[in-house]
């Protein structure tokens, strides 16, 4: 008979075999006393879910022998909000407002992946206006920079490089200001819609964009100056959280983690979407397979994204006035919304038209907004290169106005599986470095 145990997950009548270690927390004195009675050196540590260094509401259950991690298991689900289930009871257009809340550091990528899947189901992939595609690329690449800034900023903060966080959020705010000017919101934009984007760039949008580009050109070099050759930074990052190409393949790892092993896999080049094949940019790799390599890949990618943004600015300047929504009135959202100075979207011309001039216009508006459009039966899986890796939407339609099933393959969900691979056998303090270099966003992981 084993000692009476407090295994909260044991079935009634189950007996413990050996010592039961729990990570349930509790009074420190009693934990220390229990540990002294057991007399072994094994320590089970519950790290998170509310811990400033776990990159969100991530729970890490660590077994440590002294300071060495012998076993680590991530526990997720604390931010599960049932987004996928909710979407089954909303129209396809409303679905955008849900997916954008998944990976909240890269909301525009969620929207693009979902919209591309819906567009493939509708068969209108070729009919998206050029300007809409250019705006999508512009928004995605700006969002990639801001997401990488959060990754290197919070990752730096977690190992004590606080300046990385303060300057990272400073630059990110400049980008978010632009995104707010275009979409009306800093995050959770619901801007990309099936068929195009919800509104064109605002008046003076290109000038604003030029300011952002100039700002980034001025300030992006600071990150490299602070960190690249910083001996403390390198001591914390080099050879930590090592994961080579074989392990990445087995664990389905993509994005900067894969490219840090030296393999230049980037879906923007390999399976282009939104016209990425027409942009000039390089795929950034590093060859150390460690946390430092991932950091360098992210730094380099920001510069490449900036290159793409500059190309977008030129194209958008040349295509002012062209449509940003698919022509088919059965699919496109009626009326071009304009974001007012208060951040609210409306279109006075459109309201005047449907309220004062055209009964059919009013009916059409009412039907497409309340009922939505029907999507032919079938399923589509569209992967895109998000800042974290392969982000994909698997959308199944049964022919109705709402998704039958929508599953989002979030890279963070997949990548967190490799935490044990990267951390076991290492030091406890390096767990923080490893998780930071994976850059999971729990909103996307848990959905």
């Amino acid at each position: 008979m084993s000692a009476p145990h407090t295994d909260y997950y044991a079935q009634p009548g189950e007996e413990a075999v050996g010592t039961v270690y729990t990570s349930m927390g509790g009074d420190w004195d009693s934990i220390a006393k229990e540990q002294a009675e057991r007399g072994d050196e094994l320590l089970v540590i519950n790290m998170g879910p509310q811990h400033p260094s776990t990159h969100g509401v991530l729970r890490l259950i660590v077994e440590a022998d002294g300071e060495t991690v012998t076993s680590i298991r991530p526990g997720i689900g604390f931010l599960h909000t049932g987004i996928e289930k909710n979407m089954e009871y909303r129209t396809y257009t409303q679905g955008v407002a849900f997916v954008t809340r998944m990976d909240y550091c890269a909301p525009l990528f969620n929207e693009v992946a979902y919209c591309l899947a819906v567009e493939r189901l509708l068969g209108i992939e070729d009919k998206i206006p050029q300007r809409a595609n250019d705006i999508r690329v512009l928004m995605m690449e700006l969002n990639r920079i801001s997401s990488h800034l959060v990754a290197v900023g919070t990752g730096g903060m977690e190992i004590g490089a606080l300046t990385m966080m303060t300057i990272g959020f400073r630059e990110r705010e400049m980008i978010l200001d632009f995104l707010e000017a275009v979409t009306g919101l800093r995050m959770n934009h619901a801007y990309i819609r099936p068929g195009g984007v919800s509104t064109d760039l605002p008046e003076g949008g290109i000038d604003h964009l030029r300011d952002v580009i100039a700002w980034l050109h001025k300030h992006l070099p600071e990150y490299a100056q602070f960190c690249n050759e910083n001996p403390i930074f390198k001591l914390r990052m080099c050879d930590i959280a090592y994961q080579d190409l074989t392990a990445c393949m087995a664990m389905g790892v993509t994005g900067p983690m894969l490219r840090a092993t030296g393999y230049g896999w980037d879906l923007r080049k390999k399976q282009p979407y939104c016209g990425y094949e027409t942009y000039e940019f390089d795929v950034c790799t590093w060859d150390t397979s460690d946390a430092y390599g991932r950091f360098r890949v992210r730094l380099d990618e920001m510069w490449q994204s900036l290159r793409i943004v500059e190309q977008c600015a030129e194209r958008l300047e040349a295509s002012i006035g062209q449509p940003v929504m698919v022509e088919d009135a059965h699919l496109g959202w009626p009326g071009d919304l304009a974001v007012g100075p208060d951040g609210q979207g409306n279109s006075n011309e459109h309201v005047k038209h449907i309220m004062g001039q055209s009964m059919e216009g009013l009916i059409h508006h009412f039907k497409i907004v309340t009922e939505g459009f029907k999507v032919p039966t079938g399923q589509a899986y569209v992967p895109i290169e998000s800042p974290k890796g392969e982000l994909a939407a698997h959308v199944v339609s049964d022919g109705g106005t709402r998704p039958f099933r929508c599953h989002v393959r979030d890279p963070g969900f997949n990548h967190l599986q490799s935490v044990p691979l990267q951390c076991e056998g290492g030091m406890l303090s390096d767990v923080v470095v490893a998780v930071g270099s994976i850059d999971p966003v729990m909103g996307g992981v848990d959905r």
């Binding site: 399976q271 939505g372 848990d446």
Partner: protein, 228 residues
């Protein structure tokens, strides 16, 4: 509106298409088709027809190759919107996946995603498991789909072949109640450990929110008045 004065149900458009899996009428009448529908009177859910040879591109070669490695591997092939789906019997799944990963001509080295879909109307195959494979060597994608009946929700696990499927299968178990035989640690991952039921199933009861207004209750989302 009565059944008599509604238009006849149109014939199915494609000849080889089997009968609709389900026909759903509108919600404003008693089961008869709805004239308020923007996109038509009634909604027919069809099965996407099986693809006919030649499939085109690399699809033929890959299908032939798997047939030479595994006996009778594919139940049916669907090619729709540029994506190929192999429907594989669950008994064959382990063998097919292993060949897909290991054979040099196929070489799908990465399993990107595993998820489930619940089709309550698909009698005998209510639960579908959908695997999305990625070949980086050949730059190809493939969807492998397998089914199991609601009464026997067992599918072999892909984890021995693709370790990346671990959490994805746990999520599919959590959300659909599909048991992946051979999975090393099939526990709930997103829902709390003591949760009852599998929320992504279509028959999972949805809660209504009681509001304090003369005993009124907001019905669950699937019972509200909505366009279908």
């Amino acid at each position: 509106m009565t059944v008599e004065n509604t238009p006849a149900v149109p014939e199915t458009p494609v000849a080889p298409t089997p009968a609709p899996v389900s026909v759903e009428g509108g919600m404003w009448s008693d089961g008869s088709p709805d004239v308020s529908g923007f996109g038509g009177l009634a909604r027919f859910t069809h099965v996407i027809p099986t693809a006919q040879r030649p499939y085109g591109g690399w699809y033929d070669a890959a299908s032939d190759r798997i047939a030479s490695l595994v006996s009778d591997p594919i139940v049916r092939v669907v090619i729709d919107r540029g994506e190929m789906t192999w429907y594989v019997a669950r008994e064959k799944l382990t063998e097919v996946l292993k060949s897909l990963r290991d054979d040099a001509q196929l070489r799908f080295e990465m399993c990107a995603s595993v998820s489930g879909v619940h089709y309550p109307d698909d009698a005998g195959a209510e639960l579908h498991v959908v695997l999305h494979l990625q070949s980086m060597t050949h730059n190809r994608r493939l969807r492998v789909e397998t089914t199991c009946p609601d009464t026997d929700p067992h599918v072999p696990s892909a984890v021995p072949t693709y370790p990346a499927a671990d959490w994805h299968e746990r999520e599919t178990w959590d959300m659909f109640g599909i048991v992946f035989d051979g999975h090393p640690h099939l526990t709930r991952i997103l829902m709390p450990d003591d949760w009852a039921g599998h929320p992504q199933r279509k028959d999972y009861p949805l809660g209504g929110i009681p509001v304090e207004f003369k005993g009124a209750v907001v019905p669950p989302p699937d019972q509200r008045r909505v366009y279908r």
